[in-house]
């Protein structure tokens, strides 16, 4: 085995270990305590294509939010309000820590419900 091969192998192993560690840290949930009275405003843009004729966009967004809120420690404060053009606005209570926000955003933008694509426009603390 030539030194060049050994060097390339070493570099490959190091890169692999670094990649795995980076992915581990990116997908690891580290929760922080949040204020129970805090709120989080959510604005999403939803669109559907090729869905069932009896299903409305509002229903699909509602179903997606019901699914995704089970993954975090927050509930919808009221219902999601449609603002037209596929935009929906709602409030979560209590607020979410950084890990839960990433998880919630990932769930909303994931392929959880067929024929529905949701983009999170904002997920921020409302202005006091």
């Amino acid at each position: 085995m030539t030194p060049a091969r050994i060097a390339l192998g070493t570099i490959g192993v190091v890169l692999g270990v670094v990649a795995v560690l980076a992915l581990r840290s990116a997908t690891m949930a580290t929760h922080q305590p949040v204020d129970l009275d805090s709120k989080l405003e959510l604005v999403v843009a939803a669109r559907t294509h090729g869905g069932e004729s009896g299903q409305t966009l509002d229903e699909m967004v509602h179903a997606l939010l019901l699914t995704c809120r089970l993954r975090v420690n927050a509930d919808l404060d009221g219902a999601m309000q449609s603002e037209g053009n596929g935009l929906f606005r709602g409030t979560l209570s209590p607020s979410l820590d950084a890990s839960n926000r990433r998880e919630f955003r990932g769930c909303l933008e994931d392929w959880a419900i067929e024929h529905l694509q949701v983009d999170v426009i904002s997920l921020t603390e409302p202005d006091q």
Partner: protein, 175 residues
């Protein structure tokens, strides 16, 4: 063509791996699973291609000696013409007829055997039970058609003309 296939497989592998990592980083598990599946398929395809290519190299690397091959071919026994008898003119000219007759008999026997086997499977225990239930409706009454002594004696009992008693006696009732 092979180069295009290899490039397509490699591009699929890299793209699927990239999208899978991005999806994992965004906590989009369904997308990550999908791209992971594509990555796995591309990986298996490329690995199979690599193994087949290595095997092909192995077979082409072991070259045969042309002289040895020529000697082997020259010393090969002439193949026997197992149907030479078909070409021979015989007095009776029945060779082909007999062959077809025997072969036809074998084929017909095989078909008959298959039909017999299939037909024997059409009568199942459940079917027999169902048939017995249907036949019970038209079967002779239990005890036979002959009226027993008690029924005969009951015909002469006063009041036997009553319709309800005749119904009880049923078989022995006077019409």
């Amino acid at each position: 063509m092979k180069a295009i296939a290899w490039m397509a497989g490699l591009a699929t592998l890299i793209a699927a791996a990239g999208y899978m990592i991005v999806s994992l980083n965004r906590w989009e598990w369904n997308r990550a699973l999908f791209f992971g599946l594509v990555l796995l398929i591309a990986e298996i395809g490329l690995a199979t291609g690599l193994v087949l290519r290595r095997l092909e190299h192995l077979t082409t690397a072991v070259r045969h000696d042309p002289e040895t091959l020529a000697v082997l071919r020259d010393t090969r026994n002439p193949s026997q013409d197992r149907f030479a008898w078909l070409k021979e003119a015989t007095h009776s000219q029945l060779n082909v007829f007999i062959t077809f007759l025997v072969a036809g008999g074998v084929i017909v026997s095989a078909v008959a055997w298959a039909v017999d086997k299939v037909a024997s499977k059409t009568s199942t225990p459940v079917g027999e039970q169902r048939l017995a239930e249907q036949l019970s409706m038209i079967s002779y009454p239990r005890g036979g058609l002959v009226v027993d002594d008690v029924t005969v004696l009951a015909q002469d009992v006063p009041g036997a003309d009553d319709a309800q008693i005749r119904k009880l006696l049923r078989r022995g009732g006077r019409s």
